[in-house]
């Protein structure tokens, strides 16, 4: 086997040094009662070339873009990834390094993540960002737990217009705790009904997503005014589409205390939902309550600039059960990919690209409206929106799959009160022709 370099002679020689007769005898300390008698039931090994063929076959039937026109967003977005990002990310000095515990020989990772943290603070309008969380969903759960630590209260309120999967993960994280999650309904316009947050003086945090699951941009300014009328309650803003902040006001400028979301849109392929990237940022005053790794700038013995893991006293390997989180490995390489993407697109580029995304969506929305479909929510949207198709559309949806078109996501499974409603998404990867074909096909 090509990953196992030992020759038989070397094994014999090494066994002699160790003082045992054969490889099995290395396991004399393992009790007989749990020593494996039969071989593991696994398929026979494949050569590199057999594996290639097998994997090519496995992927052949996948409904992947760009072969399929997939108008699905809902937390996973199709954006172009520059070749430069892919190639730089494939450098094995980045891929095959561990968490940078030895800073002198890890400055590449450390500076890259420090730059990532900085770009995330600029994107979200916050003071500090961590080195990443697993994904947008666990990031939201951790943000709400953080609000509980900061406010020393036991209840949080979560908008029902937040991605249903994110809310499920929040519920999982909260289920064994004494803390309570209450839900805030949404309005007829698709925005969260911020008049129904409940008793603020009980709440550690109030969370919304903007744009929310329906693509609707929340009125974060108004929410901030309400939430901050209680000095202890934290405003938590989640997101699933960071491209938004190339065009729209960022949550920090509208009063958010913690911003957390999914960064997959920035240079990370959808890859059947993972690995993605949990972006996580907060106001400076909350930094010691943040979960996750932080990279900080410092000086070396000769006074040169360098970077290290810092504020580790918050973390599990020092604080153990009193840590701010149990997270250890995060999504370091994905964070690096997103920083490469942000650097490649640049500030000017991101503004142009976000605008193009917005305009494509508006085009699709208008064309569908002109074709007679109703758009149930009239709030401004970014990158995705809800459309109501007529009864019996399920058949059309199935027929379109045969034409390699995936016409959005049926919302009824998540929101029983929205039968016939579909969440549609278009990004810069859809041409006007693609959008026209979609409209024509759903109309016919």
């Amino acid at each position: 086997m090509r990953y196992l370099p030992h020759t038989d002679e070397e094994i014999t020689e090494m066994l002699q040094v160790v003082g045992v007769d054969n490889l099995e005898d290395l396991y004399k300390s393992c009790p007989r009662g749990c020593c494996t008698i039969t071989d593991m039931d696994l398929p026979d090994p494949l050569t590199e070339w057999e594996l290639n063929r097998h994997m090519d076959e496995l992927t052949a039937g996948m409904g992947a873009s760009p072969e399929y026109k997939v108008f699905l967003g809902a937390g996973s977005y199709d954006h172009f990834i520059p070749s430069a990002v892919q190639y730089l990310l494939s450098r094995s000095e980045f891929i095959t390094a561990y968490t940078p515990y030895q800073p002198e020989i890890s400055q590449g990772t450390l500076q890259a993540i420090y730059e990532y943290q900085t770009l995330v603070t600029w994107l979200t309008g916050m003071d500090v960002a961590n080195a990443s969380m697993y994904d947008g969903a666990s990031g939201l759960a951790e943000a709400l737990l953080m609000s509980i630590r900061v406010a020393r209260r036991k209840k949080v309120a979560v908008s029902t217009a937040i991605h249903p999967h994110y809310r499920q993960v929040v519920n999982t994280y909260f289920s064994p705790t004494e803390y309570e999650v209450v839900e805030i309904p949404y309005l007829e316009n698709g925005r969260t009904d911020i008049s129904r947050i409940g008793n603020l003086d009980e709440l550690a945090g109030v969370a919304v997503q903007s744009p929310n699951f329906f693509g609707c941009v929340e009125d974060l300014g108004a929410l901030g005014d309400i939430v901050h009328s209680d000095p202890k309650t934290l405003m938590v803003v989640a997101f699933s589409e960071p491209m938004t902040y190339g065009l729209l006001k960022n949550p920090g400028s509208l009063g958010a205390d913690i911003v957390c979301g999914e960064g997959q849109s920035f240079g990370i392929p959808r890859s059947f939902g993972g690995p993605g990237l949990g972006m996580f940022a907060a106001k400076q005053k909350y930094v010691r309550n943040m979960p996750g790794r932080l990279i900080g700038q410092t000086l070396d013995k000769d006074g040169q600039r360098g970077f290290v893991l810092t504020l580790a006293t918050r973390e599990q390997h020092i604080r153990r059960e009193k840590a701010t989180s149990n997270i250890c490995s995060n999504q370091g390489l994905c964070a690096t990919a997103s920083a490469m993407y942000m650097a490649t697109v640049g500030g000017t580029g991101l503004r142009d690209l976000a605008r193009l995304n917005y305009d494509k969506n508006e085009y699709l929305k208008n064309e569908l409206a002109q074709a007679g479909f109703s758009l149930p929510f009239n709030s401004p949207t970014f990158n995705e929106f809800v459309v109501k198709f007529p009864d019996g559309f399920e058949n059309t949806y199935q027929k379109l799959l045969e034409k390699k078109i995936v016409a959005g996501l049926a919302l009824e499974n998540y929101y029983p009160e929205l039968p016939g409603c579909y969440l549609l998404c278009a990004t810069e990867t859809s041409t006007r022709e693609d959008l026209d074909i979609l409209v024509k096909e759903v109309t016919s």
Partner: protein, 486 residues
Amino acid sequence: MKASVGTKGLIFNEPLLWEKGVDGRRGFSMPTRDVDEAPLDESIRGDGPQFPDLSEVDVVRHYTHLSQWNFGVDSGMYPLGSCTMKYNPKTNERQAALSGFTGAHPLLPDQLSQGALQLLYDLERYLAAVTGLPAVTVQPAAGSQGELTGMLVFYAYHKSKGQPRTKVLIPDTAHGTNPASAALCGFKSVAVKSNEKGILDPANISGLMDEDTAGIMVTNPNTLGLFEENIIEIAEIVHNKGGLVYADGANMNAIMGMVNMADSGVDVLHLNLHKTFSTPHGGGGPGAGPVCVTAALEKFLPVPRVVKKENEAYSLSWNHPDSVGRLHAFYGNFGILVRAYSYIRSMGAGNLKKASQLAVLNANYIKENLKDTYDLPYDRACMHECVFSDKNQNQYNITTLDIAKRLMEYGFHPPTIYFPLVVHGAIMIEPTETECKNDLDAFIAAMKAIDRETRENPELLTEAPRIPKVRRLDETLAARKPKLAG
């Protein structure tokens, strides 16, 4: 002695990204605008982030320079104990980059995601075969999320019995993530001391295990690199009091095909695919932390589950009312799962077993060769790693940190240092099976040379490292005046 592996080389200074941008440069091929500008509500429009504008060449040079300041497994031996820095096969990268996977949206209809679902289903079966535990979820995104999943299963199990419990036993040799994961589920950790042999004593467990204790979290092999010889007896004690046994399987790479974890009495176990199953660590993730459980606990595993009925297609299933719920927005770090799947298919049962045996052989070989030079607090046959201390070098005022920093200049990544906490000044060496004998010999020679320098020229250690991009960094300054963004 032959010349050391580390030598001179040209690397480059590189400013921070925003120190090199020039407004108006472009690094991105902007897609053609084929639609008109649509009206936009001015009240929601922002200014966009002030990212630097860079050319493609700017970006490429920037990250190429940064990468050259890093040490990875592809650079050289990386014997970071407990972290299992084995070689990351290149074919795994090829498979994970297939467009059928990378271009797949997670909410595609089942009929358009059969390949991905089949891979998830089969990977679960393979991990079951490796551990002996029949039911598996691959959803947790890293080892610590796997631990959390395991603790959620503990919590759900005891709740289902109508007797919620409040404590969990955690040995002093555990990873720091163990108590933190238990705490997330409201469990108080009860510390268990290991005995003079470096392993757990059943009598000790007997004294601590009661009916308010949900179970025990055991790392096996433990963080001293020793197999918990009394694991079967310990599991019986815990089970007799109605508790469950959790195994932190971070060290499964030592025992594949040699030990059946189910037979050892384990009920719940997490694996780190970025350790045992060769997926890259990426400078801090993404990893993957599948959880394997007994048949009796399967109903608590996270949703959605991947199911396959005879003569039917693969599908996702949500109808599991006892499930602990969802841990990830979708199905976990799928791209990492593809790599682990590729590794298992490339290796097969025989090679996985041999990988474990050679990992143990390599660790014992290093232990035997260095135990006369460095203090070995637990002088016993080890598994995949061995733990020395700096006791012998302390008399010359040389510490573990100095030894680690000097080792860099010999061209090796240092071992894990100051962990596990039960060994003062620990030097935890895990060579893994993918290091050949020549490289082990070079490492042993370097460690012996460093010991000589301790007596003959200690400044070489206390001033180390001088060769890397930066010298020792002021961590106190970083923590006292945190500068976390530019």
